[in-house]
Amino acid sequence: MNKYKLGTREMVAILLITIGTKFTDATPNLLFPKTYMATWMVPLFAAGMIAIPLAIFLHLLNKYELGLVDLVKKLSGKFVGTVFSSFIFIFYLVGTAFLMSDYVFILSTLYFPQTPDYVILVVLAVVCFGIASGGPYMIGRTAWIVLPYVMIALALLLILAMVEEMDTAYLFPIFGKGLDVVVKESFLKNSIYVETITMATFIPFMTKVKQYSKAAIIGLSILAIEMSFFFMFYVTIFDAYSLEDMLLPFQHLTRVVELGRFISNFEGYFLVFWLIASIVKYTVYLFVTAHLFTQTFNVKSTRFHLIPITTLMVLIGMYPDNLISSSFLYRNTVLHIGSFFFFILPFLLWILSLRKKASASP
């Protein structure tokens, strides 16, 4: 046993960074116009919803001790398995590309208005490619190293935000547009937690499969609380009526906080940590996408295939003209498709595994 492989810690870090940055991008903007002040319930409900398929999935993982693609292939046969896993691969390829252009738009809108978008996109892609080519261990360890600093920055932001005039009364009327809307949105957006399932791609690089299950459970519970907490903060500081039209509440939050009269413009400091987290996040996605590809089509050398996949992502990422189209149109659709697919997939696999067992026993 190699004691230097990835463990629970690194996996939790990967999950916390990939999912835990979602409330800092345009994701809240997909939610707030629908659920308003009740948005903070969405992460909790969504986590509850995905918990069931996740539990089944983890059970299957532990039983067969395989990575995501191998498991799908083993249970659903070679052909169907390849179809499924190539769907996951395309889902990741397109999703990551759109998300990346999302972030590029955020950067260019708020910090680099005159820099052409494609320059930022290419630089981001090259940096992520550089780290991703270092392999899974490099990614996992980097995530674990930067995680505490990112978390401290987020905690600091919350503490500073509390000093600002925040009013819990903004959380009312408690159900926003109604409980039914909240539940519906929670289901449609449960794919914000899809990484808890797809990061199983990393399993071949982990010491034990058990550690992955542990990481997924820890990660999901921390994330649900963290995300809900942040949505709550957005509401109590900005009021849900404002959030309806406010693009990127996280960035606004970093702009609103201040420490006395002297240091009033904090956003640069948070930008640093946000960027670190984003780079690690895209590195993870990039690697996962490449690894999904190599595993699906049974080719060797993830590192080699990183180059074409990065290029492809940059090209797709350049397609949306602006944040509104990339985030609201494309990403929203990708999220919805993902929600259905990954909700059903574990059940499907479970049924297949039961059938297999049944056919094997007599």
């Binding site: 308003y36 208005p113 009312f172 926003g176 109604g178 413009n265």
Partner: protein, 412 residues
């Protein structure tokens, strides 16, 4: 060869500067933006006050220069105006350090102002913590006439002055953030700092806080006065509150952030004098809004703590517990009366509450549909408001009894 291939692009990058790279001395920092109406239908008269960095810095040759450059012109909006400003200013106009936005009263009373203000927020440099100041005169005049003697640099004045709200409560906290909040939620009135540099004709003596800007009869070289507030309904100004009313309004809010309000009340024993006290609010108000019936009922309990600062009448309110109780009752009654008057004005004249009570009312509803159907703003005008003031003495300064003043001496 490889090295050259690497060095050439790198040096191009560094030497030409990149897209968003701007040397700090190439930028003009607008510290105050002024907005006025213009004759043009689709235009606005924009005033920029640009800080001169060299003023106040030794050995830069800037000692004799003016502290700021003020330019006014008409433009489609105050964001695109910065390119127009470059006709006279040789630097890149930057809003990153803008402290305040001064809006002329005439302008803010129109719907047009709201449109121009809200359109500006799209720009990344316009921060939501910019203070909104409503000036009695034209904003351009206000900025021109505002020449504080103590602060060398113009931004400092706004920085410090608008920061005083936290201490005195004479002006409200009025930043763009709250302005947008009120517009977007369509509830509650927005209070903006009210200011002027012109002396008002109707001078009056209003004790310590009962003034509108310009009414204070002050002598001195700086004529700027920031006191009281402009009341904005849905982004449009509809009325004014004096300093005293502003304080009351802040106290009626569930959470008032004003820390120390120095106030005076008529001495119950000796009507000639007033008792001075320091007023603080130790806890949030207890506000209860009953929305079941047609006319909503509002019950407000305001906890206040008092520290006696001065008793010019010489009555003993410190060790004489009976007198103390009397004073307490008196203060409670006076405050209650004041608060009720203010509520009445807002209900009848302005038809909107500046106390953020909609937030309390919201708690009674489960969904937004129900709440919007109820239409709190409309119901507020007939609401039955019950105010209860609970005053507690928490300190009497570092003196016990009043000094022994001979009655005869006083008679002389």
């Amino acid at each position: 060869m490889k090295k050259i291939m690497f060095i050439i692009p790198l040096s191009i990058f560094i030497l030409t500067g990149c897209w968003d790279k701007h040397e700090i001395e190439e930028q003009a920092f607008v510290v105050v933006i002024g907005l006025d109406d213009s004759e043009k239908e689709d235009g606005v008269s924009v005033t920029y006050q640009i800080a001169n960095p060299q003023v106040g810095i030794p050995n830069t040759g800037g000692e004799k220069e003016v502290a700021s450059e003020i330019i006014t012109f008409t433009a489609p909006d105050f964001i695109t105006a910065r390119d127009l400003a470059n006709a006279t200013v040789a630097r890149k106009v930057n809003f990153a350090h803008t402290k305040a936005m001064v809006i002329g009263e005439d302008f803010i009373r129109t719907e047009k102002a709201k449109k121009f203000l809200t359109s500006g927020i799209r720009d990344r440099e316009i921060r939501r913590d910019i203070q909104v100041v409503v000036s009695k005169e034209k904003a351009a005049d206000f900025i021109k006439n505002n020449n504080p003697n103590l602060e060398t640099r113009p931004h400092k004045f706004y920085d410090l002055m608008t920061g005083r709200w936290a201490e005195t409560g004479l002006v409200p906290l009025s930043d763009l953030q709250r302005y947008f909040q009120r517009i977007e939620s369509k509830n509650d009135a927005y209070l903006a700092i009210y200011a002027t540099t012109e002396k008002s004709d109707d001078d009056k003596y209003g004790n310590e806080d009962d003034y509108l800007p310009g009414q204070i009869d002050q002598k001195g070289s700086s004529r700027t006065q920031l006191i009281g507030s402009a009341l904005l309904k849905d982004g449009v100004m509809i009325g004014t509150l004096t300093g005293e009313e502003t304080r009351s309004a802040l106290n009626l809010r569930s959470k008032s952030i004003a820390k120390y309000m120095r106030v005076t009340y008529k001495d119950p024993f000796n009507k000639k004098y007033r008792v001075a006290a320091l007023l603080t609010k130790p806890r949030s108000n207890k506000i209860e809004i009953l929305t079941q019936e047609v006319t909503p009922k509002v019950n407000v309990t305001i906890p206040l703590s008092f520290k006696i600062l001065a008793i010019p009448s010489g009555e003993n309110y410190v060790t004489n517990l009976e007198n103390q109780e009397l004073l307490r009752r008196h203060v409670e009654d006076t405050l209650k009366k004041k608060y009720n008057e203010l509520v009445k004005i807002t209900q009848e004249e302005y038809k909107i509450n500046p106390f953020n009570w909609s937030r309390v009312a919201r708690k009674n509803f489960l969904t937004m549909q129900e709440y919007e159907e109820y239409d709190w703003d409309d119901k507020y005008t007939n609401a039955d408001v019950n105010i209860k003031v609970e005053v507690k003495f928490t300190g009497f300064g570092k003196q016990l009894g009043p000094p022994k003043v001979d009655e005869k001496d006083e008679g002389k």
